[in-house]
Amino acid sequence: MSRINALVLTGYGLNCDLETAHAFELAGARAERVHINALIDGSVSLAQFQIMSFIGGFSWGDDHGAGVVQAVRMRTRIGDQLLRFVEQGKLVIGICNGFQCLVNLGLLPGLGGNYTRRSVALTYNDGGNFRNDWVHLAVDTESPCLFTRGLHRLELPVRHGEGKFVTDADTHRTLRDARQIVLRYAMPDGQPARGAFPHNPNGAMDDIAGICDPTGRIFGLMPHPEAYNHWTNHPQWTRTKEAAKRGQTPMPEDITPGVKIFRNAVDYLAA
């Protein structure tokens, strides 16, 4: 089996490249950090990759809406290539700023196979401020999303000022019925957060933290799975360790739930 090649987009204020590449490597892929301009000038081709990741950061400072300017540049310069990548059945993941970029490109939610229409948005948190905290997430296990296979509930960090998912009632209904709402902010017991701060950290409609396209091959989420690449990233890891030392709980697995998301993508392609 040849290795799966994952592209990690960099440049213009993006900043989660090293840990995203690391997470892909832990998941068994070969990750390459590629500057946006290298795709535009053609020195690197999308053809050699099976997964493309739009990573977290502040592209163009997020000055005109998070992910907006990056989406404009990519649509203008390499929009056709991106659509071809998707048509070929390859995988795309957008995390935080990358998720914001995907919805501005229209690659998400991709309703009716239209991958250029902007129909959902990620806007300013209700709290009015950037927030870094860990959240509980409930996975829609019936979702076609292939990145979350085998995951039921998980915890991940959020780090954003513009993560409030917004759309109109019709689009929301369509997304829900097509099981495209992959991740929802939840209470510690897994029940829906129902908008309660800080469990739902931004006021997102229907506690939406991540969505996929109808095929499940394009996935966008506000939380950062790549920042949970080692069990000591978890905020309670010293407690888990002490409980494990006393035989009360097992030691955490080597593959964190964060890396599992990347592993699912690699496994899907390798199958």
Partner: protein, 999 residues
Amino acid sequence: MASRIEITLKPDLLDAEGEALRRKAGDYFGIRLDGVRSVHIITVDAVLNRDQIERVRQEIFTNPVTQISSLNPLAVDADWIIWVGFRPGVRDNPGATAVEAMEDLLGIRMGPGEAVYTSRRYCLQGKDLIAADVQRIAAQLLANDIIQQWKIFSAAEWDPAEGVGLILPKVRLDHTPTLTVLPIDSDRALQQLSTERNLALNPNDIPVIRGYFLDPRVQADRERVGLCEPTDLELEYISQARSDHCNHNTFRGLFHFRDADAGKTETIDNLFKTCIQTPTRALQSRKPWVISVLWDNAGVGRFDEQHYYTITGETHNSPSNMEAYGGAITGIVGIYRDPLGTGLGSRLIMGSYGFCVGPRDYAGDLKPRLHPRRLLDGVIEGVRDGGNKSGIPTPFGQVLFDHGYMGKCLVYVTALGIMPTTVNGQPAEQKTILPGDAVIMCGGRVGKDGIHGVTASSETFSAHTPAGHVQIGDPYTQKKMHDFLLEARDQGLIRFITDNGGGGLSSSVGETALYSNGCEIELEKVPLKYAGLDQWEIWVSESQERMTVAVAPEHVERFLALSVRHGVESTVIGRYTDTGKLHITYDGKPCAYVDLDLLTAGFPQWVFEAEWRSPAARGLSEPVLGPPGDQNQLLLDMLARPNICSKEWICRQYDHEVQGTSVIKPLVGVGRDVNSDAAVLRPVLGSERGLAFSQALLPFYSRIDAYHMTACTIDEAVRRLIAVGGDPDHIGGVDNFCWPTIQYDSKNNPDGRFKAAQLVRSCQALRDVCLAYEIPLLSGKDSMYVDGHLPGRYDETHKVSALESLQFSATSVIADITRCVTLDPKMDGDRVYVIGETRNELGASEFYDLLGYVGCRVPQVWTERFMPRYRALAQAIAQGLVASAHGIYRGGLAVHLAMKAMAGELGMAVDLARIPAADDAGRDDVLLYAESAGRFIVTVNPLHAESFEALFQALPLACIGHTVAEPRLTVQGLSGKNVIDLSVADLKEAWRKPFGDLI
């Protein structure tokens, strides 16, 4: 030709920005607003046709899901409207990215003079709003007149067709760049010039400067290149290089130190050399992990076989005091350039902050330029945007309130980086320059920013004069440059790299030219933000986000091509030579021709008078206090003190997990809400080796003695590292001094001699403790003149001086991060131990401060007694015997028992009679609130108790109780009765209450 786009959120969406303003107006001023909507305005000053402007409106500036927009003013209901925009020349980051986006979408290049300006208008609704309220909101919440302008419209005044009008804050200088030759006929003439032109030349330097330019050899040399008397550029260069900021004249000064009690006088020559350099060099020779110190932009220590870490810290006080957001963001983004410019360049891995401001609820008569509350809001946001947008985690920070910071606030910023030990086979920490190398300026462009710092603020503004002396950092431009330079480094394209900070090119080129011994600069090649700068202004401008790089001629082409790939501007502005001269031309005409060794030749040392009087001689004594009866209420009140209470709202605004390296976060425990002792990172993702980082700041003790202030501060930083699992054999330090003016003046600084003595004693403590704990000072900076003159009730002014303050940062390397511990007790039934004895040391404590006393018995550090217990604890943690560990810091034992209980959400039952204590500490309140150094609280699984205790033979250790399942803190007093009995919920409520509503 200008056009304007107005954008606002759809009416059914919550306007979080407007809502935040509504809340603040109510909370801060009691002004009731019914609603606020914000409108973003993009003003495009460029030749675009209707289709083009329509296209950018739709595709860039309007989100079809959430926003509406128009080329005409939007109809938004309002009783009042406030418009806020930048003054000319102020960095407009969104305006700059708008230009990039528009050029990209339309496939055009905007011409010189074309630009995009962003501004906002706020539509206020409130039936009873009056003009004075609206004015107050504009001036005290929304805008700072140093960088911004605003307009207020009542509903009646608002013209719905005209809106705010077309406001273009364009810089128009209408000035031909002019080089001025300055006559130096006499010392007095030069002194007068220095005053007129804000050169800030030290009077003692003036004869040396004149002597140089009058030297016949020098005159002959200058004549050959077409110069005679000094030019303004040359004097500016000398002034910059000789400034206290660049040259550390205070720390290198001569101190006549008189101990008034002992009647003895001694002379101390050069505090830097005697207290910092010599001890650090001595330690470096014994500690192979110390790689590079005392010369580069940051210090370098070994992380592992393949990596070094870099660290430095500084302050950005004066600018933040004028414009809090701009000052703080410029500070944090600026410090990030130091590790980037260390060795051949290091990648940034974390930053930290320390904010010292006046009381947040200050309601007295003094009128600082910015109220402490507003100032704090601004610096928090500045460091937030600067750090977050740089993609660098901010996992540690401190905030401190004291009246002394009303005069000038302190904004400490610290940065750490990591680099490979070698680049292309060359040692990464070394660098030099060869004659012929290109001088390249990378990053931002040059404007009138930061020229002569804040002195310019007193000048009057016209509509088109640039207000650039207060800057706004641009993390976006710098992040691009950071990524570019690291790639250039790895391709072997960088020979030397340094940052452009204070002093601009004058400092960076002037200092780097020493490596090759000369340079030739063609100043007209420096890219400018706008035309019309004089040559000297280009040379000393402190425009941000710039690095100076030396590149070998054969690599210039590749370097510039890579720069284009990353969307970064880089320009060759000259070449390094070996002529011994700094030679600057503009369009071929000479501007400067100065011997580089002028600065090392014969400038007189600064001289200070210092007079020390002991606390007792100054009239300090212990208060006569009876024992408190209500210990429960006392503890709750202590927890709610501004310097103790929860400041979670600040930590949560800072991205502390980007880069995926977080091991110990700023907030830990069951509720993820109690401050950890130190931060731990895993900077090399594939490795389980860790880097621990801590800071301490205890200026209160300076009220009694800055020697002990310093010793306690260092001791606290060290204990913080040990508490998480740091290695006592690898502790690196960074000293950041912030001191009030120490030069005695009978009128303006009558206690200057005492402040100078405090500085001497502080430096001596730094030397003593660092030698004892074996802490090399990897880096350090000093910031003097922390004083302000504030108007009072009758418009009289009051000089307000800050407490003598030292922030100490400490690093350690952890072999295995999975051994780290946090402060939260993990299980009920564990033993609770206290390590270290408690003494009657309540002097300048939080407890005394609560009661309005200073006292006399300040905590002291006995390094030789403390270190063995630190080693024992480090060993216990490394062996996995410790379930939780926490130092006892400000507030004493009671406060820190509460921190542990809150973090673990577990009860603790302890007995004061068992605490290791000195004979004079035999009182409940002393045991609970003394701030004696050298102490920890630790919880241990009873199964490990024996092994744990065995490590502490002959050391002060006692089991004082145990953890209990019911979340309740009970403390049995010396009488045998419970003196404290409080639920964890009650503790948490009190501790969270002061700032708990802030998000």
